[in-house]
Amino acid sequence: MASVIPRKEEKLLDVKIGELPSWILTQDFTPNGIAGAFQRGYYQYYNKYVSVKKGSFTGLSTVLAAYMLFNYCCSYKEFEHEWPRKYH
């Protein structure tokens, strides 16, 4: 049941849901730790999808689509009124 890799270095997508609270407790929430987490996340995506020998447009377009989705979520309240409805 216990994982073979030391708990701290396991990636989030590899952690099982039951082990999630203990994983969160081992994580580093100092500013340096958070910056490190963002840096690691960025380079994980970059090295897997962009910095490959035959990288294509999909590496970049996924990021842009995620950005678009993020902006959609942030401004949802403002165009909730604009949906075509019988009674507003």
């Binding site: 490959v52 902006n71 403002e78």
Partner: protein, 226 residues
């Protein structure tokens, strides 16, 4: 209708916290640093474009003016990337805010003017009077040229703001008009085509950056050379 028109230009909030800084820093994620001689395709394309642009921009300067090339290229890349990212639906364009453009225009213009006045005072002052004016016109012309000099940063900032804001507003208006006219299908095709053309023309927001950096460049050029 009134409120809906300008809501794309409000400061983006996430859980009532303004995230403007995050959105301004987002384009940096799209320009990774090259760390090898031969990099991946994305970096190679960006390097090629940057080289093309920098040669085009800086080849009219003397060596002293070329020390500003890093500043100009980063300005160009920033404005291009923010404008192009603003073309995505629902995204926020930082360069549509006058405050930000003034913050870019005024320090850069002031830097060039101050540099010109410190290093070549006589020539900078001489620029205030065009060549060959009749003697009795000199006072008035000096005043006019001073005013035109001081209007330069305002013009730089307002030009960028107005173009981006107007373009976005037009797209919103025409888009909502198309939606409203869908039931009356005669005009729908025409208006959708107008949207398409306008979108393409707005892609030439990139040309606006050219205008921005070029005017800045002209100012620096005038101060450093003769």
């Amino acid at each position: 209708m009134n409120e809906n028109l300008f809501t794309p230009f409000t400061i983006p909030m996430m859980l009532d916290i303004p995230i403007t800084t995050l959105i301004i820093m987002f384009p940096t994620m799209l320009f990774p640093t090259p760390n090898q001689l031969i990099n991946n395709r994305m970096i190679t394309i960006q390097q090629w474009l940057t080289k093309l642009t920098s040669k085009q921009l800086m080849n009219t300067h003397n060596p002293k003016g070329q020390t500003w090339s890093l500043m100009f290229i980063s300005l160009f890349l920033f404005i291009t990337s923010t404008n192009l990212l603003g073309m995505l639906p629902h995204s926020f364009t930082p360069t549509a805010q006058l405050s930000m453009n003034l913050g870019m225009a005024i320090p850069l213009w002031a830097g060039t003017v101050v540099m010109g006045f410190r290093n070549k005072t006589k020539i900078s002052l001489a620029h205030l009077l065009p060549l060959g004016t009749p003697t009795f016109l000199i006072p008035m012309l000096v005043m006019i040229e001073t005013i035109s000099l001081f209007i330069q940063p305002l013009a730089l900032a307002v030009r960028l703001t107005a173009n981006i804001t107007a373009g976005h507003l037009l797209l919103h208006l025409i888009g909502s008009a198309t939606l409203a006219l869908v039931n009356i299908s005669l005009f729908t095709a025409l208006i959708t085509f107008t949207i398409l053309t306008l979108l393409t023309i707005l892609e030439f927001a990139v040309a606006l950056i050219q205008a921005y950096v070029f005017t800045l460049l002209v100012s620096l050029y005038l101060q450093d050379n003769t």
